[in-house]
Symmetry: C2
Subunit: 193 residues, 2 copies
Amino acid sequence: MPRVGLTKDKIIQEAAKLADAKGFDSLTLTAIALLFGVRLPSLYGHVANVHELKKGVALLALERLAERSEEAVAGRAGKDALVALVDTHRDFAQEHPGLFHASRYPLDGETAQRSGGARLARVNHAMLRGYDLGDADRVHATRLIAAFVLGFSLLELAGSFSHSAPDAALSWKRDVDGLDALLQNWAKQKNDT
Amino acid sequence: MPRVGLTKDKIIQEAAKLADAKGFDSLTLTAIALLFGVRLPSLYGHVANVHELKKGVALLALERLAERSEEAVAGRAGKDALVALVDTHRDFAQEHPGLFHASRYPLDGETAQRSGGARLARVNHAMLRGYDLGDADRVHATRLIAAFVLGFSLLELAGSFSHSAPDAALSWKRDVDGLDALLQNWAKQKNDT
DNA sequence: ACATTAGCCTAATAACATTAGTTATTGATT
DNA sequence: AATCAATAACTAATGTTATTAGGCTAATGT
């Protein structure tokens, strides 16, 4: 019984690679055991169950996305920062569909709070300081951007845009332009509701 | 061996109920067999495999959503129609999280093309006739709205908005107001990309 | 050198999906 | 009314994945 030197971290890393290569749904403990050349139950010394494995990959995906996003907005402001941030998110989804899928794995509030997801929300919120918005409106705007980016990435990955005319990439540009315009003119809106 | 009178339709209906009650992930052939008082393999005479079961529920969910959306926009125009449409979508997600989740089940392009999803896209696109947009811009706007609604619903269901200050419902209103404003002023944008 | 810890193992069980081959009900035909 | 063919539902068997219980052995520290 040669000791392989398993670690929770190593396992999650490998799981992330696998999820990225074969898709998050093909991520199984069995597959990971095979990759490490180890018997399935041996993994239970390091991860409690499949849920913990998937949660680990989800957290890792969120961290990576948050990290990239922070780098993207660094040194930028206004529309420049907005474009950098949303492009980073969309590119991540395109380049790492498995990890992107993983980042949608449901987490309990407690965990989500401490995750890269919260970090991502903060970057998003901070980036919007570049626009002239009140406190509440800045939160509303943060959610608008987050919702748009997530939804667009999902629909694009699912191929929902690939069967109608203009290229999805063009819609992306126009939509981001539109959102930038909206953010600039937010104050001028009449709140008639 | 009393004959129960199984049908693909009946099975899908029951599966939809189960998905709505227990969540899409708890939808299994085993559970359906139990509900019908039938042995598991008996189902295979009516559905080819789990994938076909889930696909069926997904299609049903998309049809219901499309139907509601069509009713919602009927007789409305402009912002009135926009609000009715997006609210319908969000309400559906809140009231039927299981079916909403099902509607995200991946479909091949062929199937998706003939699904309620395409119908939904058409309603969305048609609704935007109420704004003064060129052909291409109307498609861009359709995608913007679809992305926002999907993303917001997912994030809200996941609880991503429940740990920061203003209520998600308020952000929803403000964001939809903002999108309406954007659509009205779309033409005035400077396309600087 | 030896005892303890801990890493990896085998064995066993359970839930779900799937296929092959069998029985029996139903509705059509004599 | 009796029979037959089609087919609905069944039993049995197999594979995959996850999980728990308990055993052996390599690494570690006194």
